[in-house]
């Protein structure tokens, strides 16, 4: 079975996002970018499934500008077998992402699509669900565990108030939550091999997909600054502060 994994290039999560002077977007000029952390988890899981013998080939896909090639190379250096870059100079919306991935799935016919539950830039949390809908495949979102058993994927989902276990008929789309695994580092031998692994590029413009914008960003603002915490030296002092300062009891 072939596994398709999606990898988006986003602002490095360790870097503080800053809004452009005109307030129109997050500044991405000259800042470090990285693979979306949830996608890294998806790549790791695909590799583990391959090591366990459930998957035979891991294909990484990214939609983005030429620099997204670096993100795909990272997936290859982690151990993915080949990569596909859908070239787009614009950051497209979740619906368009789902349409593009649908086209890629139609061509590649994977048995399993692994995605991050969301990208940490837009935090939309929609692409996986919409892709499954368009393909009319089973979906398991926010998964913290996956086991392949023949034609079925048994997944555990992290939901409000507990864990939900689902049996999905393959092919299926799953989206990775934080606790699914801890992604490996790229290994030195794989880094040296990554350059020789196939990386196909297809211009989005040639795919005949309507990616017109449907969402308008009205404004961006920095989150409110959090007050520094204080240490109290006794329970009595804590209770006193909760009463008089926080006014919660």
């Amino acid at each position: 079975m072939k596994a398709l994994v999606t990898c988006k290039r986003v602002l490095d999560p360790y870097i503080k996002a800053r809004i452009n002077a005109d307030g129109s977007a997050v500044n991405l000029d000259n800042v470090k970018m990285a693979m979306n952390p949830f996608d890294e988890i998806a790549v790791e899981e695909a590799l583990r499934l391959k090591e366990a013998g459930s998957v035979t080939e891991v294909v990484a896909v990214s939609i983005g500008g030429p620099k997204s090639e670096e993100t795909l190379r990272q997936a290859l250096a982690m151990g993915a077998d080949r990569a596909i870059l859908v070239e787009s100079d614009q950051d497209i919306e979740p619906l368009a992402v789902a349409k593009v991935l649908k086209a890629v799935c139609d061509e590649e016919q994977p048995g399993l699509v692994l995605m991050g539950k969301q990208a940490i830039d837009g935090d939309s949390n929609q692409a996986g669900q919409m892709l499954a809908g368009m393909l009319n495949w089973a979906q398991g979102t926010f998964i913290s565990e996956i086991k392949i058993d023949g034609e079925t994927a048994n997944v555990t989902r992290e939901i409000d108030g507990g864990l939900e276990k689902l049996s999905l008929k393959l092919p299926a789309v799953v989206t990775a939550d934080l606790r699914l695994n801890e992604p490996r580092y790229a290994s030195l031998p794989n880094i040296m091999k990554a350059k020789k692994k196939p990386l196909d590029k297809k211009p989005l413009a040639d795919m005949g997909i309507d990616t017109a914008k449907r969402i308008e960003i009205v404004g961006l603002s920095e989150p409110a600054e959090r007050q520094a915490g204080v240490m109290v030296d006794s329970v009595a002092a804590l209770v006193e502060k909760l009463k008089t300062e926080a006014k919660v009891i």
Binding site: Y185, L188, I191
Partner: protein, 387 residues
């Protein structure tokens, strides 16, 4: 043609090591600095992680199980490791290149396991009475049949507390030259636990707490000739061939450390407000930033250019000395200014800057003091002009 950009592989290598340092090293640094110790389990975990990443022995050729990286790539790894504390990055296995001189069964016993990260080495030249003047060493070995009987001591030997074996330089005789008698030096491989050989805790250093230096003592220690690395009396030949690597590594470490320090300082100049505005708006602060980044970039280029010369097979002794000299002195200035920019908080151990500043001090001393680097550079310039 000279390429001033990194290849995709080089970029990935640097990014991977940087991520490793960020995830595995940074969270433990402050605690290790305070306690002066690295918990055994943490050290083991770090080494195992590096082994699983295939980065152990990245500085060795593929034929012996190493990473097979060119000098520029090795320098990038060292640069990124410089972002982390020495106490912890010492568990990233990268033994001394001198081990390439191993022959016969020495390869199985020392070289191969060291490259894999299964055995740790340390390297001992310095003695209480022989620092910069290495050849003045007093530790000596007397022949006894096919064995050598060693007496003397070494000090300041980094991470020998972790070492399974130590690469030790010992005087084995004297020769007469036109400028008087000169000691002949031989390099030996000495296993921990060899009778008559002991490794003891050294001094408490202001720099790199948790990264220990040790005192080695030899008391009628018997070593068979099979423990000689390279040729008898030719210890400095192999040392000179490989010691350049450690100087280049020191320069690269300093560049990485300075970059880390700078990246943590820059946002503060935007966030900290005095007199109703960001302190970065005051020229007195912003010009410091300009000078810091200029020096960091200059040191980086000096270091990478020296590494590039090694890859091209060009003479690089002077260039490496310049890189070591400039990068170590640059780090002192950058860490000092970082503290100035943070004001009083810069001195407090809640922030890492006082540690960076303390750590920076040793860089101008070990692996050849700044004065010795200037000596190397100036001799290189003047020797051809002297008759």
């Amino acid at each position: 043609m000279m390429h001033l950009g990194l290849s995709d592989e080089q970029q990935l290598i640097a990014d991977t090591v940087r991520e490793f340092v960020r995830n595995e090293i940074h969270p433990h640094e402050a605690q290790v600095d305070r306690s002066g110790e690295v918990p055994e389990e943490l050290g083991r975990h770090l080494t195992q992680t590096v082994q699983s990443m295939g980065f152990a022995g990245f500085n060795f050729p593929e034929e012996v199980g190493g990473g097979g990286l060119d000098q520029v790539s090795q320098t990038l790894v060292e640069r990124e490791l410089g972002r982390g504390s020495y106490a912890l990055t010492t568990f990233f296995p990268r033994p001394s290149g001198i081990l390439m001189a191993c022959e016969g069964e020495q390869r199985e016993r020392y070289l191969l396991p060291a490259v894999k990260g299964d055995k740790f080495d340390a390297l001992a030249l310095t003695e209480p009475n022989a620092g910069s003047d290495v050849r003045g060493m007093q530790c000596y070995a007397k022949p006894d049949g096919d064995d050598w009987i060693v007496n003397g001591s070494k000090h300041f030997i980094s991470h020998a507390n972790l070492a399974d074996f130590v690469i030790v330089f010992i005087a084995t005789g004297e020769e007469q030259t036109s400028r008087g008698p000169r000691k002949l030096i031989t390099c030996f491989l000495v296993d921990r636990g060899t009778p008559g050989f002991s490794i003891d805790k050294g001094y408490n250093s202001v720099s790199h707490r948790g990264y220990h230096n040790c005192i080695l003592s030899f008391d009628d220690c018997r070593l068979p000739s099979s423990q000689i690395l390279g040729e008898l009396h030719r210890g400095f030949d192999i040392a000179n061939q490989w010691l350049f690597g450690t100087r280049l590594a020191v320069a690269a470490n300093c560049v990485g450390r300075a970059r880390e320090c700078f990246e943590r300082t820059l946002p503060y100049t935007v966030e900290r407000e005095q007199f109703g505005q960001s302190i970065g708006k005051f020229q007195g602060v912003s010009f410091k930033l300009a000078d810091m980044i200029t020096e960091i970039d200059a040191a980086e280029w000096l270091t990478l250019a020296a590494a590039w010369r090694v890859d091209q097979g060009l003479e690089a002794n002077r260039e490496i000395a310049s890189a070591k000299l400039y990068a170590t002195e640059m780090l002192a200035r950058v860490t000092d200014e970082a503290i100035q920019i943070h004001g009083g908080m810069g001195l407090m151990d809640d922030l890492p800057f006082e540690r960076y500043w303390r750590d920076a001090r040793v860089e101008r001393i070990w692996d050849g003091t700044s004065e010795i680097q200037r000596h190397i550079i100036s001799r290189d310039l003047l020797r051809p002009l002297e008759s």
